[in-house]
């Protein structure tokens, strides 16, 4: 008996190979930020610092910081209030990295800065707030980690179960259709 030819199955396999070989660019998603300073009252301000500290090797500024500032009474800070972030490695020698934060959507109460964290490990983070109400500094430590996707070869391994289930699905749907046809549906 000759072996049946299933073009759909061959096409699906070709699709997988095509997809896996065409995806040469691997860019990490930005991770979910979390606060390292939460509603800290300092001088006339209440300051929070949120971070998404991704280590990168390609010079991408993966160490992201949001400095959230409001007045102690809960009202917004005046225009002209600026924030800056300084990051310094704690576990090895290295230069301090400074970044001026920029208001998000023009809101001085929510400012964003990004620096390059070139290795995994702990960093000290200092956020400075300067403005008409005064200047304050808050500090915290943060651990940076890589957030990379698996290498292509590993990705193929991860996708094998999906491919197997997919092939089984193809077979089941077709068999189901043939059973229905033979039952006169």
């Amino acid at each position: 008996m000759s072996q049946a030819f299933y073009p759909a199955r061959h096409l699906a396999c070709a699709l997988i190979v095509l997809l896996l070989t065409s995806t040469t660019r691997v860019a990490a998603h930005e991770g979910p930020p979390y606060p390292i300073v939460s509603n800290h009252r300092e001088g006339p301000y209440v300051v929070s610092v949120w971070t998404d500290p991704d280590t990168t090797d390609d010079g991408t500024a993966g160490g992201q910081f949001w400095v959230m500032v409001q007045q102690a009474d809960g009202s917004g800070v005046p225009a002209g209030t600026r924030a800056a972030v300084t990051v310094r490695p704690l576990e090895r020698e290295g230069p301090a990295l400074d970044a001026e934060a920029e208001p998000v959507d023009g809101d001085p109460g929510r400012q964003f800065a990004a620096v390059v964290l070139d290795h995994e490990g702990w960093f000290s983070v200092t956020a400075r707030v300067d403005g008409p109400l005064g200047s304050v500094t808050v500090a915290a430590d943060v651990e940076a980690t890589y957030d990379t996707r698996p290498a292509p070869i590993l990705l193929i391994v991860y996708l094998v179960p999906f491919v197997l289930v997919g092939l089984m699905w193809l077979r089941l749907v077709r068999r189901r259709r043939q059973m229905a046809a033979s039952a006169g549906h």
Binding site: P7, A8, L11, A12, L15, I16, L18, L19, S22, T23, R25, V26, A27, A28, H29, E30, G31, P32, P33, Y34, P35, I36, S38, S48, W50, D52, W66, M68, R110, T145, Y146, D147, T148, R149, P150, L155, Y158, L159, P161, F162, V163, V165, G166, L167, W169, L170, L172, V173, R174, R176, R177, Q178, A180, A181, H185
Partner: protein
Amino acid sequence: MDLLRWPVVGPFLRWRHARTSLQLVLLAAAVVIVLHGLVGPDLASTNLATVLTWVHYRGLLVVALLAAGNLFCLGCPLVRVRDWGRQLHMPRRAWPARLRGKWIGVALFAAVLLTYELFDLWALPAATAWLVLGYFAAAVVVDLTFRGASFCQYVCPVGQFNFVASTVSPLELRMRDANTCRTCRTADCVSGRKAPAGDTALRPRVVQRGCELGLFMPAKVGNLDCTFCLDCVQACPHDNIALASRVPGAELADDRRRSGIGRLVDRVDLAALVVVFSFGALLNAFLMVAPAQALQGWMEHDWGLSRASVLALLFGAGLVVLPFGLLGAAAFSTRALTGDGAPPGLVVRRFVMSLVPLATGVWAAHYGFHLLTGLLVVVPITQNAVLDLTGAPWLGWPFWRWTGLRPGSVFPLQAGLVLLGAFGSVAVVQATAERDYGARMWRAAAPWLMLTTLLAMTALWILFQPMQMRGMGP
């Protein structure tokens, strides 16, 4: 496999208060969402309204659809509130005949996707709370005006999403034994179980309602329009309804006439719903990534358009122009390759259902990403809410570092879901072509297999782009 005969699960699902208990859990969640959204912090990533609604609810809904079935319609709190309302006022009117169909649901589904983008709902706790309140109000008004489950069947955009996605769910409610249904003279599964004779006068009182969406069990095919409410299970006097396993997606190639629906190929509105569901999945994910942000910025600055105009253009292109062009091209190609004289619209309606598995994979990859990367944030936010409310850390100081999986580690799962969805779509294309074209099946299927490949590659390209963590970050 019949879950209603499983130990523990079966007795629970057959318990007449099972649905109510699930509804009360989700109602409590809705109350928390509304209260925290209105009085809690403005920062989206610290508010339960935004996090529970846009991260957990959406993600868990898709997980439930893929793992079991339409569980969130089963536990829908809107129906609980509606039922309480109906104890005070029972509607008498039937839903207008000319409005029967999915067009309102399709329009609202697209409107929800557009509104979400236009007003940045993921970043607005109070607006999210008002949206939830508005949803409850709409459901109550519609269902206290019209009989049955009019809101679920014709209006609810989440319900329409669930109906379409549940076609690839592994479970469905169906009759156990066709002969039992053949000899049944009461049709309680759809009309409801009446009080014993003599209990009332001329018109027997219904003591257990039947299917409010008019799905008559012997003619029910698949999960479309099924809310998994289990009313039919409760109403059937013969215990002849199973919650059974099945081949996911096989119903998409089933052209039998369905109770309450008719034949799929005759329903233009259902085809439109599938188009919005499928291309909306890609559009919704695309608008999350950096190239989409750049495109929007370019259109705003270089074309001088407002953000609303830009989004209107993108939605028009993504949900109308692009589908029209791609589906039309595939239909004409099928006609040319097979010599089929069927109108192009009919060819589209035959094959459009095949988009559902891939689209469901895209929705699962997108919402699953947010769910898995933000799964644990609900813990510190709840701790913080208790701290704000009571002034004391009754649940401990917030564990702010509890977030979820690293996004990079979620990527293989996302790619796998899209790939699996593509397999499902290929399977449905193949079954549909075999059904309608016989020996010419591969000629008929070729354009649709190419379309599936194109859409799958587009979905994977989107996943490979840097994604904005909206709703999660400050």
